[in-house]
Amino acid sequence: MSSPSPPLSTESDFPKASPRWLQPLVLLSPAGIWLALLLVIPTLLILELSLVPGIRPGQVVNPSGLENYTRIFQPDYFPVLTRSLSFAIATTLICLLLGFPVAYWIALIVPKRWRNLVVLGFVLPLWTSSLLRSYAWITILRPTGVMNSLLGTVGLPPLDILNREPAVLIGMTYSLLPYMVLILYAALEKLDRSLLEAAADLGATPAQAFWNVTVPQTLTGIAAGSLLVFISCMGDFINPEVLGGASSMTVARLVYNQFLGATQNWGFGSALSMILILIVSIAIALWLKYGDRSSAGGV
């Protein structure tokens, strides 16, 4: 402090002597190269391959048209696309319907010191293997399973929903409900409670307060949660495959079959994969345009 020290200043000049671009290069290029090699170039390769009808491994790539893309609109495959979309939309709505009350209860009614613990308790099942979570539902839903034993003891006729569409919806809802609750909880926790009290003081019924205060205030969270659930369902392979049986073919399963199944049509598989990426991108674009606007907070 007391004595000036010239050597120090030359030392502190030392790092500035190394070229300015060196540091960013060292920090950013390893990840950049990895992503370029294993994400960017491969995605461009699927784009190229998707333009080749009937390609098999080892063939020369020769882009020649949009046949692979128009194929999805044929009567054999179009129901697959619409089924994937309906699964995704239905699961999003169910998760919203089931998740909102839970998130509301945790954020506004559970005492503050318990809140974190309750949220953690709700998302804990996410940390278990998604395959095994889906598999657990087989044990419950199969014809001789837990559900039908329970139905039998109360005198109701058995339900046969394994390997059908309701089973897929149950599996998807089960996998994604914790995400929805987590995001809605984050939005509801930031809710300005004095607005709710003001609404009540001004004579609003609980329902009116809910629709005119709570919902608009948490619209960002609702949009973010819905987006996450929707895009996860569009790409979900495990639930339709494990619980859906032959009747619930989805886009993700169809892609799988083009590469690892008996079909082996890499061009068609690549086109389907691009269609999935496209649908997800549209959902994100819609969210960026409309979903993030309603409040400044964001999730």
Binding site: P24, L28, A136
Partner: protein, 289 residues
């Protein structure tokens, strides 16, 4: 009597309503029901893992034989060790390059930064199956010209593919911590004569460590859980645990898989608790600062 009547009158006249303002009385039971929904499958797995009956849903008595069966099952154990190797390697690589990336992105502006950032976080949103397909096609394009000589599909290719998404998750967690960080500490270190490397390793890294560790735990669990990317990039050579489980459960309910599930659930519950504890501790530390 008279006093009671006056009291009632006072209550009626009192300006503030005594009834609760929001009577969502169904919320608590409904939420508990949803908790039940979340834990029901896990409970069912646990109960069936000790049920002495291979096929039926009836209770046939307590047994540990499914646990013994699974602990003596070489294929499962090999698959488990493959999965652990893949997760460790992928997370180790991703931790280094993901942290460097997060620091670099937080610190520098350069042309094309938006594009770089967009691509870096892309694996968080595009479906796994699309990543799996892209990686397979890329590996096939690289491997086939060398007739399988240069790059063999194996554990190594799974690691390479897993690094991509592990990287994104770790960078995301680290960059959240970086935005809450006080930059003057590192500046002070540089002013006091530390080299950039010293400043990074001795000042910034300890600050980031809790975020790096919790990012790594998240990536580790995701890597262990991944079925699609592994099965697309494994070729015939290697089998990870999700691939092994998948090939077994397609043919029906397997009690030894129930036992395996319970063991895995306990292990990941432990990891989860560790991650949350770390997060909690770092938050306490931040609050104390």
């Amino acid at each position: 009597m008279a006093i009671a009547a006056v009291q009632v009158e006072c209550k009626l006249m009192s300006p503030s309503p005594i009834k609760p303002r929001f009577s969502f009385s169904w919320l608590a039971p409904f939420s508990l029901l949803m908790f039940g929904f979340m834990y029901l499958p896990i409970l069912v797995l646990a109960v069936y893992s000790v049920n002495d009956s291979r096929y039926s849903a009836e209770w046939k008595g307590l047994t540990w034989k499914w646990y013994q069966a699974f602990f003596n099952d070489d294929r499962i154990l090999t698959a488990l060790s493959n999965s652990l190797i893949v997760a460790f390697c992928a997370v180790a690589i991703a931790a280094v390059i993901g942290t460097l990336m997060a620091v670099g992105l937080s610190r520098y502006r350069f042309p094309g930064k938006q594009v770089y950032q967009g691509i870096a976080y892309l694996p968080l949103i595009i479906p796994d199956i699309a990543i799996a397909v892209a990686t397979l096609i890329f590996l096939a394009a690289v491997a086939i010209p060398f007739s399988g000589g240069l790059i063999q599909l194996s554990l190594g290719t799974i690691v390479a593919a897993h690094v991509v998404f592990c990287l994104s998750y770790i960078a995301l967690v680290v960059s959240t911590r970086l935005t809450n960080l006080n930059p003057s500490l590192e500046e002070a270190a540089l002013d006091l004569g530390a080299t950039p490397v010293q400043a990074l390793v001795q000042v910034l890294l300890p600050e980031l460590m809790p975020a790096i560790v919790s990012g790594c735990l998240l990536a580790f669990v995701l890597s262990l859980d991944d079925f699609l990317i592994a099965s697309f990039t494994a070729g015939g050579g290697a089998n990870t645990l999700p691939m092994e489980i998948f090939s077994r459960i397609r043919t029906g309910v397997k009690p030894d898989i129930n036992a395996l599930s319970v063991v895995l659930i306990l292990a990941s519950g432990f990891l989860f608790a560790a991650a949350e504890y770390l997060r909690y501790r770092s938050e306490q530390k931040r609050l104390a600062e």
